[in-house]
């Protein structure tokens, strides 16, 4: 008799997920998977829309990382129309982007995944409230202040803290007001302090905690995958542009290419039970949810960036990176939990970049827009989103109406590795048909380390349509019947 353990939903992540563990007759794990029950269909319903609306439309892919989609989309539009934004426009976008990266990484460490490490023990309150209860009001005050400062400046730049509206092909919608620049300059040192403080807190609370010590070196929480990330001209970590570099599980370079050539290097596969497509390295091919040098499975995101880049772009972050790699015995680091540490190293780089950009003399210049003149055709835009490489790829007709849209998002690229991680951790944690609640917490923790963003991952709308859907109440009564007639299916 087979049995299933279902964790529904997995909490403290962006969007929907449930973990399903199938046990065999002996009670051992036969299979485990993360199922993401959501999808909305952006790649199809954006067809026919005016291209310049895409930064606003695709921001709605994700309410946690709308900035990443907004900026990737704007860059795709720059390429689509063959126009280079003026320096001030690029710098305002970059300032906005680094503020976002900092506040989003802080969200994960203090609210989403971090409480797994910061608040230990069974029946613990793993949430921001638990973090404050465990580590004190001061922690809460600092994170709230820092995120509020960053998001306040973001909303002045972008119109609102949520879905931004300011980026356009060839630049941005208006010059940055002097008051906003002053506010950013004033806030920047505090943000750098906050990022450094978070790293100290990580040392003092997370690395000393039971969860970290138990799992960081545990074989069940390793994945020897390839890694992919953007690097800048000196192979430094770069969030806003550069070359895509891929390294193998031994850290050797497998590929280096301009982001617009991504299709030559990355392919996707489908699984019948999942809405989310799984990208893999086409040079290696799809070998299933396995790691190692012959598997096409690769990872993106904070740990991937640390593993791929030669160094950080800013001095204090570089020092933090060196400490991290020393403690974890050099790169590539394969421990999934190390994503947490890498994220905080990156938050420091983001804060230092905010300080640098806020004080840039060109930031407030009035010239912020080049009006496109060339006919639009095709464009690729790429950024390093908090969760990894994000690619927007558009094609239009001569009127600038979209005829092709492809979004390759971070949580989708990490999808195969997440499956692998969950399966491996489940096999170690569930033995003899028994799973302690704490073991299930640990399993979730491994998945959460990726900071999964499932609204992003499931932006596409794959699968075949059901003929009829019956909504039943818990008592079994039919609440509603939604049907789809076969004559409405377009013939293939």
């Amino acid at each position: 008799m087979t049995r299933r353990i279902v964790l529904d939903p997995v909490t403290r992540l962006e969007g929907h997920a449930r973990i399903e563990i199938e046990l065999d007759e002996a009670g051992e794990v036969a299979d485990a998977r993360v199922v993401i029950p959501e999808l909305r269909g952006f790649e199809r319903f954006c067809l026919g829309r005016a291209a310049e609306e895409m930064p606003r439309i695709t921001a709605h892919v994700c309410g946690v990382c709308p900035a990443a989609h907004h900026i990737a989309s704007a860059k795709a539009l720059d390429a689509l129309y063959g126009v280079t934004p003026p320096p001030a426009a690029r710098k305002v976008r970059d300032l906005y982007y680094h503020l976002f990266l900092l506040e989003d990484h802080a969200l994960h460490f203090y609210y989403l995944g971090g409480p797994d490490l910061l608040v230990g023990g069974p029946d613990a309150l793993r949430s921001i409230a638990g973090v404050v209860a465990r580590l004190g009001q001061e922690v809460g005050r600092r994170v709230v202040e820092a995120r509020r400062a960053a998001r306040g400046i973001m909303s002045e730049i972008a119109g609102r803290a949520g879905h931004p509206v300011f980026a356009l092909p060839g630049g941005i919608s208006r010059p940055l007001p002097a008051a906003t620049i002053a506010r950013a300059r004033e806030a920047a040192p505090g943000l750098v302090d906050f990022a450094a403080y978070s790293l100290d807190l990580f040392d003092a609370a997370a690395r000393e905690g039971a969860a970290w010590r138990a799992a960081i070196d545990d074989e069940a929480f390793q994945a020897r995958t390839h890694y992919a990330a953007l690097v800048g001209p000196e192979d430094e970590v770069s969030f806003t542009g550069g070359t895509l570099r891929v390294v193998d599980p031994d850290g050797r370079e497998l590929a280096r290419f301009a982001p617009e050539r991504y299709e030559e290097h990355i392919a996707e596969t489908l699984e019948p039970w999942s809405w989310v497509r799984f990208p893999y390295l086409s040079a290696k091919g799809w070998k299933g949810f396995v790691d190692g040098p012959e598997s096409g499975v690769y990872r993106v995101g904070p740990l991937a960036r640390i593993n791929v880049a030669a160094r950080m772009a800013t001095p204090r972050a570089e020092a933090a990176r060196a400490r991290m790699l020393e403690a974890l015995r050099g790169r590539p680091v394969h421990a999934t939990l190390a994503f947490h540490w890498a994220r905080l190293v990156e938050a420091l780089q983001a804060a230092e970049m905010v300080e640098r950009l806020a004080n840039d003399p060109e930031l407030g210049e009035a010239d912020v827009r080049r009006i496109p003149e060339a006919a639009p055709r095709e464009g690729v835009g790429v950024v390093e989103a908090p969760r990894g490489t994000l690619i927007h790829h558009y094609r239009t007709d001569e009127r600038g109406l979209l005829t092709g849209v492809r979004l390759l998002v971070a949580s989708q690229q990490n999808g195969a590795a997440m499956q692998l991680t969950v399966r491996r951790a489940a096999a170690a944690l569930v033995r003899g048909g028994r799973a302690e609640p704490s073991a299930l917490d640990t399993l979730e923790m491994a998945y959460r380390a990726y900071d999964p963003c499932n609204a992003c991952a499931s932006h596409a709308l794959p699968g075949e349509m059901p003929m009829e859907v019956i909504v039943r109440s818990a008592g079994g009564a039919v609440v509603q019947r939604l049907s789809r007639r076969i004559d409405r299916e377009p013939s293939e």
Partner: protein, 472 residues
């Protein structure tokens, strides 16, 4: 027996109504299929009424107005412009443009009226039945949609904190982030409420919610469109468990951008998503979570007690709404945002001309708007006239036109129709050949329904939109 179409005819009482009367008195034959609706002026025909006529079973709609140059109120040109936009919208939805017809008919033109009616009946007969309602709603039109204003529920005991659940359906998480911005360390919320379920911020399982007694929750805030069967199950579950169910944000309110998926048609979306993947899926007993045929606003599925509009809800709106909801001060259905149109509080109101007019249509790709002037006056389709206040014009403040995420002002049937109505009037005032100007709109559905397509209960594409592939 031949198919006999139902055609709703909006007749202006200054002209075409007389022509119809005269045609009857003179015994000129015209089809009985015509259902006449008399209006004081064709300019008063809300585009939402035209759509409602189709939804209610009409196979064609005739708008018979004064000849535009003869109209005493200037309404006829607005009606013509609105019909031009509506026709293109219907076409984008796969409905033949000939099913909606605008004609100028003078009071004495009895024969012309009869001829138009005969011709329209013949054209629509040839096109065949539309079956709009079934296609639009994905269910039998005989079963009415959920009531928006449910019965009053007993108020909670004041001796304990209200029990609250926050859930997301087909959402982006932006509404949850907006709540987090209000209660950044949760303490402001946990002092006021017992937080039972909120997957973004605290641990908890679906089973915990299922175990609750019916009505045990005082408040459930649900964001996201209803797109999957699982979303529908959550909607029904939380409706049962919660005394007050609140649609949080544009997707729950009107379908949001998710509603644009209804334009494409689900099969086309599926084809797009499958393209570009090199490996076909092997046969398997396991299926992914099933989809509903359409994306729906929450209120299409279950009664909703209140709406907090916006994408995401603006901080001031959200703060005020949560304040009242947590204090149990929203006794009857209410949209928890100011009722009137954004234009009235627009920071650029002073630059709005006395008699605003659209003389050209501009796109943001090829034009940098002036940072002070009314967007409509510059030819940009700003949704201010058709959008509820509450945001303070935050997009306009950064020199971007409104896209209508807060939904329609009070009294307007739905935001897209309200915007078509407003733009029709502006095009007419512009005095150009309004129909041809409307024809210059690049993307009608996306321009008028960026957030409201699902709420407009418009149908999916009825024809295949061609076999284009999604991946570039």
């Amino acid at each position: 027996m031949a198919f006999s179409p139902r055609i709703v005819a909006f007749l202006c009482e200054g002209c075409s109504q007389h022509a119809a009367d005269l045609a009857g008195r003179e015994r000129r034959g015209y089809p009985q299929a015509l259902l006449p609706i008399r209006v004081p002026c064709s300019g008063r025909i809300d585009p939402g009424l035209v759509l409602r006529a189709f939804r209610g079973g009409a196979e064609g709609v005739l708008v018979a107005a004064c000849h535009p140059q003869d109209c005493r109120h200037g309404g006829s040109s607005a009606a013509e412009a609105r019909c031009a936009i509506l026709g293109r919208l219907l076409e984008a939805l796969g409905i033949e443009r000939a099913r909606l017809r605008f004609e100028g008919i003078g009071a004495s033109e009895a024969e012309r009226f009869a001829a138009v009616a005969r011709d329209m009946a013949a054209t629509v007969s040839a096109l065949g039945p539309l079956d709009y309602a079934r296609r639009a709603l994905g269910r039998d039109p005989a079963s009415p949609p959920a009531e928006k204003a449910p019965r009053r529920r007993p108020s909670r005991s004041t001796h304990r904190l209200p029990r609250v659940a926050i859930h997301w359906n087909a959402a982006c998480g932006g509404c949850d982030e907006a709540i987090l911005d209000e209660f950044p360390d949760l303490s402001g919320l946990t002092e006021r409420a017992q937080l039972v379920y909120w997957p973004l911020a605290i641990d908890g399982r679906r089973a915990d919610v299922e175990r609750l007694k019916d009505g045990a929750l005082d408040l459930a805030l649900v964001s996201g469109a209803v797109r999957l069967q699982e979303d529908a199950e959550w909607a029904v579950l939380l409706r049962r468990k919660a005394r007050r169910l609140v649609a949080l944000g544009a997707c729950a309110d009107t379908g949001g951008v998710v509603g644009l998926g209804n334009l494409a048609g689900a099969a086309a979306i599926a084809r797009t998503a499958r393209s570009g993947a090199v490996r076909a899926s092997p046969a398997s007993a396991r299926e992914p979570a099933p989809l509903l045929p359409m994306a729906l606003p929450l209120s299409e599925l279950v009664p909703v007690d209140a709406v907090i509009p916006g994408c995401p809800p603006p901080p001031e709106v959200l703060r005020a709404a949560l304040e009242r909801l947590l204090a149990d001060e929203v006794p009857a259905y209410e949209v928890l945002a100011p009722p009137r149109a954004l234009c009235e509080t627009c920071p650029r109101r002073a630059t709005r001309p006395e008699r605003p007019a659209l003389v050209e249509l501009r796109r943001l790709a090829s034009h940098a708007p002036d940072p002070e002037r009314c967007f409509l006056d510059q030819g940009h389709l700003c949704h201010g006239p058709a959008t509820r206040q509450g945001c303070g014009g935050s997009c306009i403040a950064v020199n971007m036109p409104c896209r209508g995420c807060s939904g329609a002002p009070e009294g307007a049937p739905e935001p897209g129709a309200a915007m078509i109505g407003a733009v029709g009037a502006l095009l007419a005032a512009g005095g150009l050949e309004s129909a041809s100007l409307a024809g210059g709109l690049a993307d009608v559905a996306g321009s008028f329904y960026p957030y409201g397509l699902a709420a407009a209960t418009l149908p999916e594409a009825l024809r295949s939109e061609g076999e284009e592939e999604g991946g570039p």
